[in-house]
């Protein structure tokens, strides 16, 4: 694979991430029993990938903030010894409803893409 191919692969990965990162974050917060702060969420994502996380963890934070602005998440700030006060995020009822519809949309997309790749479409 030459450099140009690699660049295109990175571009695809970046676009895939952009489309799925909000869904992944929402799902993680839905599964979690207690509120999580940014670093914990980043750790969970890092732990779930087998090798090399393709998403830069700093890009998660603006997504968390915009989901909070849209009412999908709720946050509270607590002081921390390590650095600045921590922002703990929790999913809201509206977030759960939205997650349900996103989950369905994801399943449709995934099935469609899989079907195309297996040659069942077209």
């Amino acid at each position: 694979m030459d450099a140009a191919d690699e660049a295109m692969l990175r571009k695809l990965q970046k676009e895939l991430n952009a489309g799925t990162v909000a869904l992944v974050l929402l799902a993680i917060l839905d599964r979690s029993a207690e509120p999580l702060y940014g670093y914990q969420i980043a750790k969970r994502i890092e732990g779930a990938w087998q090798e090399g996380v393709p998403v830069k963890q700093g890009t998660l934070y603006p997504v968390l903030r915009s989901m909070e602005d849209n009412g999908l998440l709720w946050s509270r700030v607590e002081p921390s010894v390590a650095g600045p006060p921590r922002k703990y995020y929790q999913i809201t009822d509206r977030g759960r409803v939205v997650l349900g519809s996103w989950r369905a949309a994801w399943a449709r997309t995934r099935d469609f893409v899989d079907a195309t790749l297996e040659g069942n479409v077209g």
């Binding site: 670093y39 980043a42 890009t59 934070y61 650095g83």
Partner: protein, 296 residues
Amino acid sequence: MASTVEGYLAELRQALAGQDPALVHDALYDAEDFLRSAVAEKGDTPESVAAAIDAYGSPEEIAAAYREAEASAAIVLRPPKRPAAATWYGRFFGVVGDSSAWGALFYMLLALATGTVYFSVVVAGLSTVLGTMVLIVGIPLALLFIAAVRAISLAEGRLVEGLLGVRMPRRPRSVGQTGTIWERVKGWFTDYRTWTTMLYMVLQLVLGIGYFTIVVTGLALTVTLFAAPIVQVLSDTTIIRSAEYGYYIYPWAMPLVMFAGVLALFATLWVAKGIGYLHGQYAKAMLIGTFERSAS
């Protein structure tokens, strides 16, 4: 690539230069949260810091992510920009609906008052501090004076942002400013912005006098030209007088004179808008500094 948390934050701040200060604040806050959490967990070694920075993403990448998030939110929040008028006279007279022109006009009037206060504070403060420097009270006085200068700098920034529409910081917290109270105080003296702010405050009196004069002249000209024909008709005397000669405005010229008064108002607004823009850039350069110091 930075090798310390402070260095990374400084780079991120640089990558976000020109963005909304509130956005910059949020982005720095998030980055500091992540990096300090990582350091707290894995130990404060150069390797763990480098690994955390690598996992977090390059300043350019992160800045781009915040810009995108801001852009998608801003479309909803920000009022639509007024479309520019198509014709030259439409543009010329459209300035009357331009809030930045009126804000600048008001700022120019206010500059005489703020300029007088700033000038007095600096001159009185500096001479007191220099005069008492040999005594022990000189030191607390000097600190008090510098603190006052920094507070006024922030207040003037709010005024400039409110009236001239130039983005100014809501908190002039410089990245990496940690340590004991004495180190911070030392930072005040070595920060070139403390000195450019003082210069700004002294010059504000000169500029304030000029700005005030320009606005008052423009408005006086407007009122005079607009009112002269009316007063002449009502009082039946000549308004424009020079020595013993009185100049009568002919009836055919009356609408022209009044129109000239209207033009003077619009011209004043345009001048105010232009000066407001220039002053905003100048204030930004003097009060925040156009380039960021790299963290040491």
